[in-house]
């Protein structure tokens, strides 16, 4: 085979990867493409909730700016949830998350965005994100899960439903006052379990 022919094709194939190198250097790019704010951590404020032997704490990072390579930055509402199993048995959990903003618009968590930003958040909080949608928490251990929501425009208040228990949903209420987000209240909301 003619070496020149091979080299030309090799260059064509490698070009997309070479173009990407300045962008795809994970740590450097991540640092320059993300602006992070930490609003509150319930592990410090003691506002976490315990139900049926599982303590749920969360770290809230509002207005997290993530800049795509070719477009302007977009803002996200990012949470890292910390699940601690206080019982003497391992438990299997499968949490799901919904953000509800006025007027009752529901947003699902965006797994892709969570994946792009996870390294940065894991480094800051020294915690490792779980990737499976269902995972086991050994006795007296804590597992962490990163959740990112696209931020609706002109958002002043919202709540997040954390669905991890069979009979109740943990609902976290957030309000924006003087450009600062505050966690007003949290409650365990009973689920409807009828046939209708």
């Amino acid at each position: 085979m003619k070496a020149r022919f091979f080299v030309v094709f090799l260059i064509i194939i490698i070009i997309p990867f070479i173009i990407g190198i300045p962008f795809f250097m994970v740590k450097k790019a991540a640092a320059s493409r993300q602006i992070i704010h930490f609003a509150n951590d319930t592990r410090e404020s003691g506002d976490g909730k315990t139900y049926k032997g599982i303590t749920i704490n969360w770290t809230f990072c509002p207005d997290w700016k993530y800049k795509p390579l070719l477009f302007p930055a977009e803002e996200y509402l990012v949470f890292m949830f910390h699940y601690t199993n206080n019982s003497e048995y391992a438990v299997q959990v499968m949490p799901s998350y919904t953000l509800v903003s006025p007027p009752n618009r529901r947003y699902s968590a965006n797994e892709e965005i969570a994946m792009y930003i996870e390294d940065e958040l894991e480094n800051k909080l020294k915690a490792e994100d779980q990737t499976p949608i269902t995972f086991e928490i050994p006795p007296n251990a804590t597992k962490h899960y990163i959740v990112a929501f696209e931020k609706p425009h002109l958002l002043n208040h919202f709540y997040v439903d954390v669905d991890v228990f069979r009979d109740v949903t943990l609902r976290l209420y957030y309000n924006k006052e003087n450009e600062e987000w505050s966690n007003d209240s949290n409650e365990l909301v009973r689920k409807y379990k009828g046939r209708g």
């Binding site: 997309p16 892709e112 965005i113 990737t131």
Partner: protein, 366 residues
């Protein structure tokens, strides 16, 4: 200009397979990058494959499309061919894969709004192409009086696979962005129709091919790579089921009246069984590969690209299954398979360059 015309004339329908084999690696990389911190960099390798696949797709789409207008007789000849004809849906599949890649990795490049809208455009283009070629091919097969048992081969799985891949992007789109919007029911209906068509065609066509493999000679060596296509249907159904369950979860646990908690255990069982079949088929491919090598009848042809995409679909199925079942077992399997997928891709790319250099491109084998 004369050279360009010559390229267009000989640009067979099978070139979409090269895009497919490159595009799917971006998804296997993305899934592998999630396993642990040291693998994070694979996400960006995946973006490299995404860009490469996009460039290939655009470059290949031009001669592929022009051929319909400049050389309709060549197209008719290819459609009548029991092997080459089945490769026509590979280009519409590329639209669906481009949509899936854009759905997964597009937000890194374009942000969420643009990426999710672009992937929907790819979805509808892919759907139109896949259904159109599906009908054309089945009509051609039914009316073609020349087709015999000995023509059956695993490339016949490509049209069913093309239909099965539609619900994958449909479910990816229903997950997150389009969940709860008025577009979701349309995506759901199209996806379910495609799933039904793909699944039953897979069973019917599979029986015909099985019949040939038992009662007639196995195909000649240049068709050996098509054996790998058999791994794809069940692997793609696993991918769909996993994405669909995530779409239900994203819709607050209830999508079109389908309750997450009610079907998740069943989906896990079915998915694992289907994944098991694909694994069994992978061993079968190895057995037949060995047989062909022993017979010294396995030359490198462009058809070797058939070794890439179906295998990568199996890797993706493994990665998604690892997110909800047997995680500790499947995650190392995923990393191993992903490495193997890259090795296969490199071998096939090298072989393709040699194949092109030999001038075989201008001597199509029918």
């Amino acid at each position: 200009m004369a050279m360009f015309k010559k390229i267009v004339k000989n640009f067979g329908p099978e070139w979409g397979a090269a895009v497919m084999g490159t595009a799917a690696i971006c998804i296997t990389m993305q899934l592998s990058s999630e396993i642990a911190r040291p693998f994070s960099v694979l996400l960006y390798v995946g973006v490299g494959f995404y860009l490469l696949a996009t460039a290939m797709f655009i470059v290949f789409l031009i001669p592929w499309s022009l051929r319909f207008f400049m050389y309709p007789d060549e197209i008719k000849k290819d459609l009548q061919n029991p092997i080459r004809g089945n490769f026509f849906p590979t280009m519409p599949i590329c639209f669906v894969l481009a949509g899936t890649g854009t759905n997964k990795l597009g937000p890194i490049l374009f942000g969420t709004w643009f990426a999710y809208h672009l992937s929907i455009v790819f979805f509808f283009l892919g759907v139109i192409g896949i259904f159109t070629f599906g009908f054309i091919l089945v009509r051609t097969q039914f009316l073609n009086k020349e087709i015999r048992h000995k023509h059956a081969n695993f490339s016949w799985f490509i049209p069913p696979v093309s239909h099965l891949i539609i619900p994958v992007l449909g479910a990816c789109s229903m997950d997150v962005y389009w969940a709860g919007t008025s577009l979701a029911p349309t995506l759901f209906i199209i996806s379910m129709i495609a799933l039904g068509v793909g699944f039953f065609n897979f069973l019917f066509v599979g029986s015909a091919i099985w019949h040939r493999y038992i009662y007639a000679d196995i195909p000649q060596g240049r068709l050996a790579p098509t054996t790998m296509v058999g791994i794809a249907p069940t692997a793609i159904i696993v991918i769909f089921l996993m994405k669909f369950i995530q779409a239900i979860e994203a819709s607050q646990g209830n999508l079109f009246g389908i309750n997450f908690m009610s079907i998740f255990p069943i989906v896990k069982i079915i998915s694992f069984a289907l994944w098991g079949f694909s694994l069994w088929w992978l061993v079968l491919v190895a057995v037949l590969f060995h047989a062909y090598i022993k017979m010294k009848d396995h030359p490198f042809v462009f058809g070797w690209w058939a070794y890439t995409f179906p295998f990568e679909a199996f890797v993706v199925a493994t990665g998604l299954l690892a997110q909800c079942a047997a995680t500790n077992f499947l995650q190392p399997v995923l990393i191993t398979l992903n490495t193997l997928a890259v090795i296969i891709w490199i071998i096939v790319v090298y072989g393709t360059i040699r194949w092109l250099e030999s001038g075989a491109f201008f001597e199509p084998q029918h």
